[in-house]
């Protein structure tokens, strides 16, 4: 314990005890070989998992959703975890990604090309339908471009802002995008509506990949594998970015903006790239989910969804890539499986007669509170933060919490 007790820490023993706790709670130090082995095992497990599941069952459905949420949470982690910009409007990128899929892969533009439709590299049933139909991979690229631009546009007004003002401006953009999605059927131009309003856009094209059978809603395995591939890509990009010049610039900005800028970190570019990259992942997941859920439903794009994704990031451990993966999978399973499917039968088993679905909100909130109180630093804290907790708790805490010197 190299920390020197300062005037602000009245009890010299306290930091040491806290440091030990922080050390005990982190992951054990593993050699790089063990680490690599674990990662390989996890990837293998993830890839082979669907073979042991019913191809149309509820579990694989939940797992696919969870993977899509992992992609989004990893994107948000870049903005909030790496760059330290609290974003409460992440749902905007989900919406924009989903609408990209809706625009370029559904009957939405039904009158285009005199009702004959426009088809780019699509096969199967979609090739016969009117409307614009593009190959999923092209839509994915379009969604990435659209959300990157949107992310940067949303980032622009926040450049001069600090801390929680960024949170409220991003929240505002998220709400504005959500409102436009719901009321967009009132806005027309170029002979088409902006969105379909509350009716939503449905059906949406199924994913259509070269060298693969067309996807169906009966066999969910290919969907799972596509989501898993997206997760792998995003994970790879995340790790490479974190260890890159840009990633270090993000972390430097997060730790101390003034110091980072005076050391030559370009503020505008670095922040905008954080927004753009994070948004792009949200757009990927949005396009995938639109196709997977077969609908672009305007009522999905609510503030609570942003909070849901943010909860995954904070619960997993801000800035910690594996932590965010764990947090996303955990919360997604709690929300989609544990509460509706597992806990629902509990009252009848213990002889009580009431409907637990009414309580699902409350249970979710209760679990959030419990998890956070038990492990406030997240399930798998980021290594850098852990070191800070061990060595510099006074310095960190004076800035970040009020209560630093409180004697427990």
């Amino acid at each position: 314990m190299s920390a020197t007790p300062t005037a602000s820490a009245p009890q010299p023993a306290a930091p040491g005890r806290r440091g030990q706790r922080a050390r005990r709670r982190g992951l054990p130090d593993l050699s790089s070989n063990t680490r690599r082995g674990l990662v390989a095992a996890a990837i293998l497990f993830g890839a082979l998992l669907p073979l042991f599941l019913q191809s149309g069952g509820g579990f694989i459905d939940d797992a696919t959703l969870a993977l899509a949420y992992v992609v989004m949470a990893l994107g948000l982690n870049i903005i909030v975890g790496f760059a330290g910009l609290l974003d409460l409007g992440y749902v905007a990128f989900f919406a924009i990604g989903a609408y990209t899929m809706g625009y370029f892969g559904s009957l939405f533009h039904i009158d285009v090309n005199d009702g004959k439709g426009l088809h780019i590299l699509v096969s199967g049933p979609a090739a016969e339908l009117p409307g614009i139909h593009m190959n999923f991979l092209l839509v994915l690229v379009a969604a990435i471009i659209a959300t990157t631009i949107a992310g940067m546009v949303i980032g622009l007004p926040t450049l001069r802002l600090r801390g929680d003002y960024i949170a409220i401006v991003t929240l505002a953009f998220g709400e504005i995008v959500g409102r436009i999605a719901i009321n967009g059927d009132e806005i027309t131009g170029f002979g088409t509506k902006l969105t379909n309003g509350r009716q939503g856009i449905t059906p949406v094209d199924k994913i259509d990949l070269p060298f693969a059978d067309p996807f169906t809603s009966l066999n969910l395995r290919p969907w799972y594998w596509v989501a898993f591939a997206l997760v792998l890509i995003v994970l790879f990009v995340n790790f490479r970015l974190r260890d890159s010049r840009l990633g270090r610039a993000w972390i430097a900005l997060r730790e101390d903006e003034v110091a980072a800028v005076s050391m030559g970190v370009p503020l505008v570019r670095t922040k905008l790239l954080a927004y753009g990259t994070g948004a792009a992942f949200g757009g990927m997941a949005g396009a995938f989910l639109a196709s997977y859920l077969n609908t672009v439903n305007a009522d999905q794009f609510q503030f609570s969804f942003s909070i849901f994704i943010l909860a995954m990031v904070i619960l997993g451990g801000l800035g910690s890539i594996w932590g965010v993966v764990v947090g996303a999978v955990a919360l997604s399973f709690i929300n989609n499986r544990l509460i509706p499917d597992v806990l629902n039968n509990v009252p009848s088993k213990i002889g009580l007669d009431f409907d637990l679905t009414e309580l699902s909100f409350g249970i979710f909130g209760f679990l959030l509170v419990i998890m956070m109180v038990l492990r406030p630093e997240g399930l798998i804290p980021e290594r850098r933060r852990q070191i800070e907790l061990e060595e510099g708790i006074e310095d960190l805490a004076v800035d970040e919490t009020v209560y630093e010197s409180r004697v427990p």
Binding site: L86, Y165, I314, L318, L359, V369, M372, T401
Partner: protein, 352 residues
């Protein structure tokens, strides 16, 4: 952006526009809607009574938001936490009031004296219930996380907000419930230059103004208020000066919750409906108001609440209810662009 740092390269008209926007942009943004609608009214109807009515409704709605926003801003000023459960505390205040009307037998037929006494009782009860609830939330969800990373309490706040929403859902069901219209809130009390002042408007202003004045005086004059300001400025120094920071923080949550409870009562009487989801929207709006005025700044919260009330009414009445949230948030973004620390400037530790 780099070009902006080279002043000689800029053409003169653009620079003039820039400095003009920098000075008057905010005022332009704020006045855009009322002035535009005022001109339209003058042209079409020849007087400004419609605009006046909009602004009056905005004033009464805005005073509800102001009461809730003060709670946000107080809590933020002292613990730097966005208390997401605050909107739900407001909702519970509404529910308690609505339930208590029935308990003490207030109906639309109750005489004036009985009504005043009954409503005062309800006000006190709603304030106590919401205040106690807020203190309880602080104890359970925020205090254990005092040494935790900054964002951790945000998640427990969200968790508590969900729990309270669920409580509301179980208490009064999932749909909007209308409650007895005790004060005949849409009844015109008097009219002035074509602007009709309803009972609801009068009640909102009559409850809000004394409460805000009392609370401002309390924070400015009393010992506890002084302790609150000291803790907000520097908790460590405050502790060294012998201030019990824990008690002070609890007191802050108590006051914030009490104001939210009062707002809940006004809302229930004014809108004559209660809904478990009302707190969510109200929380979002009130938080926006707090930020708009400059977070940590009490007068800013009141000003922000009123401005949002005006914007909402104008937009509800002229553009369409479904667009109101988007317009309120668009205003927020514009204000943040022109004044990054809120209208009246923030008062937090970070701001220095």
């Amino acid at each position: 952006m780099a070009a902006a740092n080279v002043p000689t390269a800029r053409p003169v008209p653009l620079r003039a526009l820039r400095s003009f926007l920098g000075t008057y942009g905010l005022i332009l943004v704020l006045l855009a809607m009322p002035v535009a609608f005022g001109i339209a009214d003058l042209r079409e109807e020849g007087d400004l009574s419609r605009l006046g009515n909009n602004l009056l409704d905005g004033l009464s709605n805005g005073s509800i938001w102001a009461l809730v926003a003060i709670g946000y801003t107080l809590v933020y000023g002292i613990v730097e936490l966005i208390n997401f459960a605050h909107g739900e505390v407001f909702m519970i205040g509404s529910f308690v009031s609505a339930g208590f009307f029935g308990t003490i037998g207030l109906t639309a037929a109750t005489g004036a004296a009985g009504l005043v006494v009954g409503l005062l009782l309800t006000l006190v009860l709603a304030m106590i219930a919401s205040g106690a609830l807020n203190v309880m939330i602080e104890r359970v969800a925020y205090r254990p996380l005092r040494n935790a990373p900054k964002l951790a309490p945000l998640i427990t706040a969200v968790g508590f907000s969900f729990i309270l929403q669920n409580v509301g859902l179980l208490w009064r069901g999932g749909s909007q419930q209308s409650i007895v219209d005790l004060i005949e809130s849409q009844q015109e009390l008097f009219s002035f230059a074509g602007i009709s002042v309803t009972n609801g408007d009068a009640l909102a202003v009559a409850v809000t103004v004394p409460l805000v004045l009392a609370m401002t005086a309390f924070i400015a004059k009393s010992r506890l208020g002084k302790a609150m300001r000291a803790t907000a400025q520097d908790p460590d120094a405050a502790r060294l000066m012998g201030i019990n920071v824990d008690t002070t923080i609890s007191a802050t949550f108590l006051i914030g919750g009490m104001l939210a409870g009062a707002a809940g009562l006004i809302y229930a009487l004014y809108q004559t409906t209660v809904w478990f989801f009302q707190g969510f929207t109200a929380g979002l709006i009130a938080f926006t108001a707090a930020v708009m005025g400059g977070i940590g700044n009490l007068r800013g919260a009141v000003l922000g609440g009123l401005i949002i009330g005006f914007i909402q009414q104008l937009s509800d009445n002229r553009i369409g209810t479904q667009w109101t949230p988007a317009i309120v948030f668009a205003y927020l973004v514009l204000i943040m662009v022109f004044k990054p620390s809120g209208l009246l400037g923030e008062q937090t530790r970070e701001a220095g």
